[in-house]
């Protein structure tokens, strides 16, 4: 009987694992078969000359390049704001907060995590309206505002993963620092964080993915279809997910729809690039930790 159960559990988990590969495989195959043929110089730059388009000397119309730059900047900015804040909050929750206060804080983070992204967008939008009515009449939706709202969106992932990563280190491991006479700050930064690095990296990757794909937030906070390359922090911008969204919603010809698949492929590749960036950063920090 228990042998039969064993076999069932085993085959079930095996099938579940296979299923993941199947789903990813199907998705990729579908995207590749539709999108790959559309990848071309024209998709990225339209009829603009490549070099001049890259450096923004020539305006690119109806092509991906400005959206690539927009998404890249958006994610980097949101990450720059959210990663230090999120990791610091996670550290505070795991290593410093006293228990009644900790419960309130954790609840707030959960609430933040449960907030739909469109609400985050609305919040940014309302903030601009408020600023316009009060002391900043020229305030407008922009790259900075969108990054801020995106940062808010991904903050809870970073806080949670950091907190859980630190708290799940074994008791005896957590005691190494104090038992050797290290200060709490030294323990956190030199003993605990490096050991939790891998899991925190997982959270960062999740956050990057979330920031790169979100459309609802940026739609209300500064993305437009034909902005060209972003003009600084306070300018409008284009972004890949938004481009996919409107291509898919308003395409005029099958070719245009196919270019949406191509765009999706590019977004996937860009996200992969950002992941590798996070991975490389983690490797560097780890390497540094191993030097003496």
């Amino acid at each position: 009987m228990s042998r039969l159960l064993d076999i069932c559990v085993y085959s079930w988990s095996w099938l579940a694992t296979i299923k993941i590969f199947l789903v990813i495989g199907c998705l990729l195959w579908f995207l590749l078969s539709r999108g790959l043929p559309t990848l071309s110089k024209e998709l990225f730059f339209g009829d603009a000359p490549v070099l001049q388009a890259i450096f923004g000397q020539v305006r690119v119309w109806d092509a991906l390049w400005p959206a690539c730059v927009g998404t890249l900047l958006l994610v980097l900015l949101a990450g720059l704001i959210a990663v230090p804040l999120g990791i610091a909050s996670g550290i505070y929750l795991a290593c410093y907060a006293s228990s009644p206060f900790k419960r309130i804080l954790s609840m707030s983070v959960e609430l933040l995590a449960g907030t739909p992204s469109i609400v985050m967008g609305l919040f940014g939008f309302a903030l601009i309206l408020f600023l316009r009515d009060t002391f900043l009449p020229e305030a407008n939706t922009s790259l900075l505002l969108a990054s801020l709202c995106l940062a808010l969106l991904i903050l809870p992932y970073l806080i949670f993963t950091t907190q859980v990563a630190l708290e799940s280190l074994a008791d005896e491991y957590q005691l190494i620092g104090p038992s050797l006479g290290l200060t709490q700050v030294q323990t956190v930064f030199h003993i605990l964080l490096p050991a939790a690095g891998r899991s925190i990296l997982g959270g960062v990757v999740l956050a990057i993915g979330r920031a790169a794909e979100d459309t609802a937030v940026i739609m209300l906070t500064g993305v437009i279809a034909n902005a060209g390359l972003p003009h600084g922090l306070f300018g409008k911008f284009e972004a890949l997910p938004f481009r996919i969204y409107y291509l898919a919603a308003e395409y005029q010809s099958p070719a245009e729809l196919n270019s949406a698949y191509g765009t999706a492929l590019v977004l996937l590749a860009l996200t992969g690039l950002l992941y590798s960036g996070a991975f490389a950063l983690h490797k560097t920090l780890e390497w540094q930790w191993n030097q003496h």
Partner: protein, 258 residues
Amino acid sequence: MESTLTQAEPFCIVKNLQVLFHGRNVLQGIDLTLSGNGIVVVLGSSGSGKTTFLRSLNRLNECYPGYSSSGRVNLKLSGTMSDINHSDLPLTELRRQVGMVFQTPNVLPTSIAQNISLPLKLVTGLGKSEREARLVEVLQEVHLWDEVKNRLKDNAFRLSGGQQQRLCMARVLALKPQVLLLDEPTASLDFKTSHKIEDLLIELQEHYQIIAVSHSLRQARKIADQILIMKEGRIEHLLKKEKFEDPKILQKLLEEIF
């Protein structure tokens, strides 16, 4: 019960020490004076408070939630008796001087060398060349040098359990402590490896005041100069070597207790 050995100057005086976790009494008023040379071995059934007692000597209990305590602990550090709770003795300094090795080896997930070098740098701020000299010195002290000298950059997890435990000891010794607290240092090791560590402890007792919790009578008789028997958060007996040299007497005492 006041347990005293009075022929020499004491190195540890505990007065009415109570430790509570979440209001539950774990150490119930310990009075103890330890003196003399040699290793003090703490015996007692599991849950009798041995680990908590050790941790109250370097104030490590304070790292746990729900901790409270009363009473006094004085340890001989740098030749003078010091109140470990006194504000003149910073907590980090106390813990450097009273080193602790845990039941299961807890190496850092980094290279063998870095396991010793990193804490050393953080605690003492020593320069690179001094740290490297200290590294060789302590690895030799725990007889690990010959085994690891060609693989100092390897991850410490690749070492065997016994090697890891000796690395943990070296990590503590590098900070030049005066007292060593060992919490069942051989509990997770096999018989042969345990013997190695025991021989090492017998060597180390020349230079450090060692207090070790043990789970084995054999081990206690081999390494101890005095045996402390704990039961339900109290010190039940403090035995001098003459007393436990006769295995029958010790056996009888332990049977009473377990």
